[in-house]
Amino acid sequence: MSSIWENANPVKFSRLAGVVLPWVSGFAAVALVVGLVWGFFFTPDDFRQGSTVKIIYLHVPSAMMAINIWAMMLVTSLIWLVRRHHVSVLAAKGAASVGVIMTLIALFTGAVWGQPMWGTWWVWDPRLTSFLILFLFYLGYLALWEAIDNPDTAADLTSVLCIVGSVFALLSRYAVNFWNQGLHQGASVMRAGAVTGTDTEEKVSNIFFYPLFLCIIGFVLLFVALVLLRTRTEIHKRRTKALLAREHLG
């Protein structure tokens, strides 16, 4: 059994990414196409929300990803600071670009759903506000990457920002909860007891849940594929730069 740390070697990582990437992208495409088509065309309209309920298939997975991607960036940033593996921090950089888009999708689909349902595109609800703050964190993180020329300095600084930012993001979450009681409904998808049927509270009905689950899997796989691709591209970019520099010297 080989260690996971072997993939810290950029060459080994690239090779692994090359093998895994087609499979992951393929499964992501299948899951997304099946999940979305099933969700959009083969589920009934909700009796109160009408067909707008179908935004759930984009909104919930992207919102889940937006939060979890930041958590993943926190882990890979820590790995970079502790063990100095370049692949790790490049993965964080690649993930951030995906994360900012996921946040944007969640905010946008939420606004589109909120307009007919709540009668407004935007309210300063805790969940919405937290997402706006998360969006700002992503923007700041990416802007810092772009602003600094030396790649190692940029990696160090963004990693520290990611860690400090995580603490403040959590703080903001509670501050915002304290500041305004919300309009947004509570989590109704992945709740303990929902599977066993012991949960008597409101939850998403199984008709909607199966395609939604597929969409969530599809989004996760899509994210993995994109991060592998972006990380590999970054490695290649660095390699080309090094080769060009060497040629220039010789």
Binding site: I133, L136, F137, L139, G140, A143, L144, A147, I148, T153, D156, L157, V160, L161, I163, V164, G165, F168, A169, L171, S172, Y174, A175, V176, F178, W179
Partner: protein, 218 residues
Amino acid sequence: MIALLTRDLKLAVRAGGGFGLGLAFFLIVVILVPFSVGPESVLLSRIAPGILWLGALLACLLSLDRILALDWEDGTLDLVATSPLPLEGVVAVKSLAHWITTGLPLVIAAPVFGLLLNLPAPGYVWLILSLAVGTPALSVVGTFGAALTVGLKRGGLLLSLLVLPLYVPTLIFGAELARRGAEGQATTTPLLMLAGITFGAIALLPFASALVLRINLR
């Protein structure tokens, strides 16, 4: 450390721009608000705590890049970094100097500005208290942002973008404390949260700022 503090304070006072700038900006915000939202005193007294906190925060934000940028340019920071004083201490002193030159004048001047915005009478104590407890956090967090962007030529916009989400919790609890105080509601929870944020930031963030500064000075 004391020498460094007095040096920073003297520079701020004598070089001009740093000391009065925040206060002047605060005054401008407070004077312009009644022109933009109208002069009804009921409305003004309702939004006064929020406006005062917002003005204080923006005034702080305005002077952040002065904390380290000038010392970076003329090489003082390199000298200080090689001195026996630990960089964590240097950063903490820099934050303190920033707070004394921007935060403290705001705290002292806030009652006068509160008067301009028709702040209700019970609000003054809470406004001063909330600013006194909250603005140190703004300075410490701002120093972290300044340390992140110190090596950049035009880091002003980036600095604001980085610091903006970090300021949210402080602003929420600070403004909430001032508002509840002004309306005579229970103030313990926001006061404790605000104090917690400030003391936590003072205790932990200088280490992060020093780490970041060391990376930038490499």
